[in-house]
Subunit: 147 residues, 2 copies
DNA sequence: CTTACTGCAAACCATTTGCACGATC
DNA sequence: GATCGTGCAAATGGTTTGCAGTAAG
């Protein structure tokens, strides 16, 4: 749990840098997010946090997740359509979304880190974020389909 | 304009294959989409098509764009949050979105075509679509920022 | 003539906003 | 004590749905 503590401390510092107060709601939303690998929606985070803070409102969760996105402590998962999903894992990774069950799986590749693509892009734009997004069917759903 | 005719013919064939009727609305929505390189929202397509079919409804445009996505004649642009945006350009390409002005720019890279990443993914999933999505600020907005 | 599509209106749902109270610094 | 955050409720806005009439195959 040293890992969690470290993340929490870095998170609090980041809040202070951005002149954000450290409230229980903010901390619990952050904890709920980084302890999940399911790329939860605001609703899902809400359900989780309510276990600890029963009076928290969905609005606060929404606001907080957006704030985390703004200060770079988390981000909105890229995808097409659907409800917003969030990710607190800042390590470089990519997402595969199953269009049937909606699960999001992480995968790894360094397709852009070394290529010319990024360099070319940076000639034209200030690139803040670059991700690979893949869509399709996961194993579970392929199997179900065959029935 | 031979290019447009070719695309239209292929589009009609695709409709027939999917047992979809070829209605003026469908054709005009498709034409509006492929004649735009702005990755338009349903609203934007609606505005454009109304020039030709003044009585078309926004619902029909929405339904049609979703249908195009389903039959593979177009797709929903991957992104984070915001309104759905559509793209009728099926050539392999990537998107950069300016988070300030919301413009979407196309760019090219073949980061995944040849790598092991895709092969590895295909061991685990049925991959239907894979795109690179980048976000940041475009030149215009960087300049505006400096004022 | 059958089946599918459209337009309209209403419904839906996720997300956002205004405001007064309460908590943090 | 000043400022910012929260909870509540209402509003918003994009997207979807049910239905009756209309058009395509």
């Amino acid at each position: 749990m040293t890992d969690l503590e470290g993340k929490l401390e870095r998170f609090c510092n980041r809040c202070r840098q951005n002149k954000l107060k450290i409230t229980p709601q903010r901390v619990e939303v952050y904890k709920a997010l980084i302890s999940s690998n399911a790329h939860p929606s605001a609703e899902a985070v809400y359900d989780k946090v309510r276990g600890v803070l029963p009076n928290i409102s969905l609005d606060t969760v929404n606001r907080t997740l957006n704030t985390l996105n703004e200060i770079g402590a988390a981000f909105v998962v890229a995808g097409s359509g659907d409800v917003k999903r969030f990710d607190g894992n800042l390590d470089n990774h990519q997402h595969f979304k199953c269009i049937k069950c909606r699960k999001i799986f992480d995968f790894h590749s360094e397709p852009l880190d070394n290529t010319e693509t990024l360099r070319k892009l940076e000639e034209q734009f200030r690139v803040l974020r670059i991700t690979v997004y893949a869509e399709g069917l996961c194993k579970g759903c392929i199997e179900k389909e065959q029935n």
